[in-house]
Symmetry: C2
Subunit: 109 residues, 2 copies
């Protein structure tokens, strides 16, 4: 019975975590799209174009690794998203309180 | 004296070649900048952004290797630029006639 409850609880946790990842992903990617659109509208020099290219290379690599759900790193992953401003702690409500405390503490570091 | 004339002639040739490379480079890069500016203004999806990124990766690699002056490959380099529309044969006037014929023939292949 305890086992069942724990399973149920971690299922809910997974759902909350995945939902939060999705919200943050949407925020970061739509902000990136808008910023590239703005930046590109002012392009006149090749150096600026390569700068945009470098920026996209970095961002693509970053985003690729950042939004997959991984229970063993989720505390650090969320702390990073909160620190970077893509997620509010409020949006993680429903996770275990000790997990939320850790995320909050790490995000302030 | 023949040696001197040949040196003089190849100096002129080098100057013509470098000038033509510069013209083609300016054309290709300014066309690229304008096309990315236009394309980026319509960006709404992340897949489109990564498409632009892939395009820039390819173009950057291509352009990096394409515009350095190399006497041993200059016939092929110019044929490619003519074929791609970045250069007119007229703009290579002053190069040896047999070189121009080769460039023209290769560009039509």
């Amino acid at each position: 019975m305890l086992q069942l409850n724990e399973n149920k609880s971690s299922k809910t946790e997974e759902k909350i975590a995945k939902e939060a990842l999705k919200i943050a992903y949407e925020r970061e990617t739509s902000t990136l799209i808008a910023s590239i659109r703005d930046r590109a509208s002012l392009l006149t020099e090749l150096e600026e174009l390569w700068y945009v290219h470098d920026l996209l290379s970095t961002k693509r690599h970053e985003i690729d690794g950042k939004y997959s759900y991984n229970p063993s790193t989720i505390v650090f992953d969320f702390a990073r998203l909160v620190k970077e401003g893509w997620l509010n702690l409020d949006e993680l409500k429903g996770l275990k309180p000790e997990m939320l405390s850790k995320i909050s503490a790490l995000a302030r570091m």
